[in-house]
Symmetry: C2
Subunit: 150 residues, 2 copies
């Protein structure tokens, strides 16, 4: 298990293959983002996108799955406080295969809770062609291996 | 249909009821965020959360559904560029009922594409008790009703 002390600023990971299907794009969107360009191929052709594309929240969720299976797998994660600067840079389409790239950009111990470390990471979701489709800064929390005695 | 010209800075909307179930929390997390505190009640009790809680991305997705059924319903939406300052302020639990509050905080026409308007909104997801569980600034795009002739 990797704790706060084991994480280095600058460490990078590239991980995963998530195969994006039309069926999953539509299933996610019908539940969570039923805009026509995410749920209906014919309507999508007449939209600003010109084709069926994944909900941006679905793209984020698929990348989260890659993070959980990859860089977060053996981390003593305590969840995340939030996300900064999330950008949908290019739509995700049926047939795309996504991978993720992560880089730790900052870390520090919480001033209010010395058992808790903050780790900020730049995350990018990337297609089989190397195009970045989404990026965000994740504000993660991770347990310390050796917190000070109270 | 509401176009860029029809949106006023300062307009607010409150909308929706999304009933959060344990089954849906686990189903979403098994697909997209299989960390034990989202997928396994017993493991969640031993986690930093102390109980089963929804994936933060699931919380965002449920709020997106409320936005699509509410404030975005009749907007000439062209999707979103991204999200700033997303914060998970409190975990969402089985049995919670979520609603959303939105406020338009800025708008301007794209300098690169005069057919496209940018509308920034502060979004908050709120429980039945009035607790804000998530907030973000959505960077939306919306068609102009009367773009200038080329």
């Amino acid at each position: 298990m990797r704790y706060y002390e084991d994480i280095d600023v600058g460490e990078t990971h590239e991980f995963g293959e998530y195969h994006v299907t039309k069926a999953e794009i539509i299933e996610f969107a019908e539940q969570y983002d039923p805009q026509p360009f995410h749920t209906d191929e014919a309507a999508a052709e007449d939209s600003a996108f010109g084709e069926l594309v994944a909900s941006g929240w679905h793209t984020a969720a698929m990348c989260m799955r890659l993070l959980v299976d990859g860089p977060l797998y053996n981390r003593a994660s305590m969840g995340a406080r939030g996300v900064d600067e999330l950008r949908w840079k290019r739509p995700v389409r049926p047939g795309d295969t996504l991978s993720i790239r992560s880089e730790v950009i900052d870390k520090r111990v919480s001033e209010s809770d010395p058992e808790r470390g903050y780790v900020d990471s730049l995350l990018e979701g990337i297609t089989q062609d190397g195009d970045v489709v989404i990026s965000w800064i994740g504000l993660g929390m991770i347990a310390r291996r050796n917190p000070p005695e109270e």
